[in-house]
Amino acid sequence: MPNESKRENAINAVTSGVIIAPLKGWTQLGLRDVWEYRDLIWSFTARNFRIRYRQMALGPLWSILSPLIDMVIFSTIFGGLAKLPSDGVPYSIFAYTALIPWGYFSGVTNGAAGSLVSEMDVISKIYFPRLVIPFSNVLSLLFDTVISLLILLGMAFYYHFPFTWRLLLMPFYLALAALAGLGIGLWLATLAVRYRDVRNLAGYGLQIMKFATPVVYSASLIPEKWQALYRLNPMYWVVEGFRWIFLGTGQAPSLMIGISGILAVLIFVTGMYVFQRTERTIVDWL
């Protein structure tokens, strides 16, 4: 008998019925579904983390090394040879400060773009909100980013940059990077299901975007008449924000960041929407 009553509870606990029917018109973004599966986000994150950190020491090592190596290359070429201006701070830390959020952004973008393909094995057999995959990727990448940030703090200490209250704003900038990365990545994932060449194009797209963001050069190089357009890019604000936090240069948040942020939210919401529509029939496409 106690068993039976437990059972009743279990059934009552389940939210009423699910209607499986063709998608018609606008549907919800499915965020409630994702919330229902929040423990799965954590499971995937833990899995990614465990595999990477258990299986091969080189995996996480690489993701920390790669911005460091980039820093050395860019310092040599752009700072040393081309003598690009770096707002008066050592070029190495100038580049590294930008490479960390950029690396996070591109990781989130690529992760979201490849999410449907990378988990195809599971997707084709079990239903769960597919948004869980890119979301958990956002979390797993955070671990690497935090370690890189510790290195950055060490460098900032070495170069005698003061630590200020601005550090508290860093999560906000990381969130903006994640939002933009997810938005773009979800769009790419959706298009990649239908068009084979999207993955290649995406690589170039990210490359172009990297150079449209003041990662390896100073934003002061951009002529004044282009600045308004230039500052629409959410990653401009993230990168300049990181410099503002750690180096005291860069760009303090202004009204324009709101407009850029709205743009990021717009890309994110539409990305979620198209992704949501594709995920329900993706097995028919692949």
Partner: protein
């Protein structure tokens, strides 16, 4: 609380046949098309695909599953069974109609999906459980039961790449079954694992059913479904052509079997589908039980005598000949014969195979024939020669005593095989 947890209404799923063409499309090509010939591009992308380009994997499918009911879904490969399962498990959406599913849907379609071989059994239980829709807390609660049921406790903290495939299946199954689903989708997965675990799993499924879980059991095997379900639907080319009691369905199925060989009659095997070199061939076969009261029909625990005629082109020795009986789900239950050398003369030879005690329940069985030469060279084989009936020996009121219910026959008594030279 809902008494009809699964309600499928006019469900249809359409696939594009030329999907490969669509898939290979590139964004560059599409943009080029749209720019160079915008009108035909628009027309093509807006118009419904023509009938020739599409295939309805399911159409106008409606049925219900009550609480605590096991519904069998029967159909050949390509009848739409897997499409139906995919829709019910929300992996894909239907093109039209709808399926209302109340409560949590569990599926034993692909147990262990999402298992990661680098992770330990413990970690995989959590990963798999949350993929299936459990909360971490729920997995915490059921963890002990899952480990206990799977029987891999000793290795629970080892990476599952060190597990045997059987252990992985058991672990996956245990997670899936402890999800406590309200609706359970089952494929022929229950045939996975060793016999003991299979039995345990089946009992667990029945336990869930008794607690009110509804089961949709999919199989191409009518007799497999018979063992689990009272009611079944039959899918053919994406449509439900029968939704009825399982016994009615079996009656219909049997009524379609026409080539039942009567005792004493000779079955001409010349037109049958032969395999093998053909140096020696089966010519005809007949059987009888010798029980005049049953008109020579075969009966449980009775004797059964097969008379085979084989034709050899030259004098030669064969080293094996047998008659096999399969139940209708394709299990071989009887294999009566010998692997002793038998010298054959040119022309027609007759061989007698005697089963002293036929360990079969009343029913219809498929007969297959096999004949090899030295070194197991296949001379002749007929995989489905004909059906034979086994009838109850005693009064019909007593037949529900089924001594061989589990289909495992102890042994088959075969008499010496006698070979005669047929008189011309």
């Amino acid at each position: 609380m809902n008494d009809i947890p699964v309600k499928v209404e006019d469900l249809g799923k359409r696939y594009r046949i030329n999907a490969s063409e669509n898939r290979s499309r590139t964004l560059g090509r599409t943009l080029l098309d749209a720019l160079t010939s915008p009108f035909s591009y628009l027309r093509n992308s807006l118009s419904e695909p023509s009938a020739a380009q599409t295939l309805w994997a399911l159409r106008h499918v409606s049925f219900e599953v009550k609480r605590g009911e096991i519904l069998g879904v029967l159909g050949q490969n390509g009848a739409g069974k897997s499409t139906l399962l995919r829709i019910l498990s929300k992996i894909t959406l239907p093109t039209e109609g709808q399926a209302n599913v109340y409560g949590r849907v569990g599926s034993l379609l692909q147990v262990g999906t999402g298992f990661n071989y680098e992770l330990t059994g413990r970690e995989n239980i959590y990963l798999n459980g949350t993929i299936l829709g459990m909360k971490k807390k729920e997995v915490d609660q059921k963890f002990e039961e899952i480990v206990e049921f799977s029987g891999v406790r000793a290795f629970i903290d080892n990476p599952i790449k060190r597990y045997s495939s059987g252990m992985i299946v058991r672990l996956g199954f245990s997670v899936a079954i402890f999800l406590k689903p309200d609706v359970l989708l089952v494929d022929e997965v229950l045939s996975v694992g060793d016999a003991a675990f299979r039995q345990k799993s089946l009992e667990k499924v029945y336990e869930l059913v008794n607690e009110g879980c509804s089961v949709v059991f999919v199989s191409h095997d009518l007799f497999m479904i018979q063992r689990l379900c009272k009611r079944a639907i039959l899918l053919e080319a994406g449509k439900v052509i029968e939704d009825t009691d399982i016994s009615v369905m079996i009656e219909h199925y049997l009524s379609r079997i026409t080539n039942i060989l009567a005792p004493g009659d000779w079955l001409d095997l010349a037109t049958g589908h032969h395999q093998g070199s053909g140096d020696v061939r089966f010519v005809r076969i007949s059987y009888r039980s010798g029980n005049a009261g049953l008109n020579d029909q075969a009966y449980p625990d009775g004797p059964l005598e097969f008379l085979l005629e084989v034709e050899a082109r030259i004098a030669r020795t064969i080293s094996g000949v047998s008659v096999s009986l399969f139940d209708l789900s394709g299990f071989r239950l009887i294999n009566a014969g010998t692997i002793r050398d038998l010298p054959l003369q040119p022309g027609v030879n007759s061989i007698r195979i005697m089963i002293h005690s036929l360990h079969l329940n009343p029913g219809t069985y498929l007969m297959a024939l096999w004949l090899v030469g030295p070194a197991e060279v296949l001379l002749d084989q007929i995989l489905s020669a004909a059906y034979i009936n086994v009838v109850p020996k005693i009064e019909p009121t007593m037949i529900d005593i089924n001594p061989y219910h589990d289909k495992v026959t102890s042994h088959v008594d075969v008499s010496l095989v006698e070979v005669h030279r047929q008189s011309p």
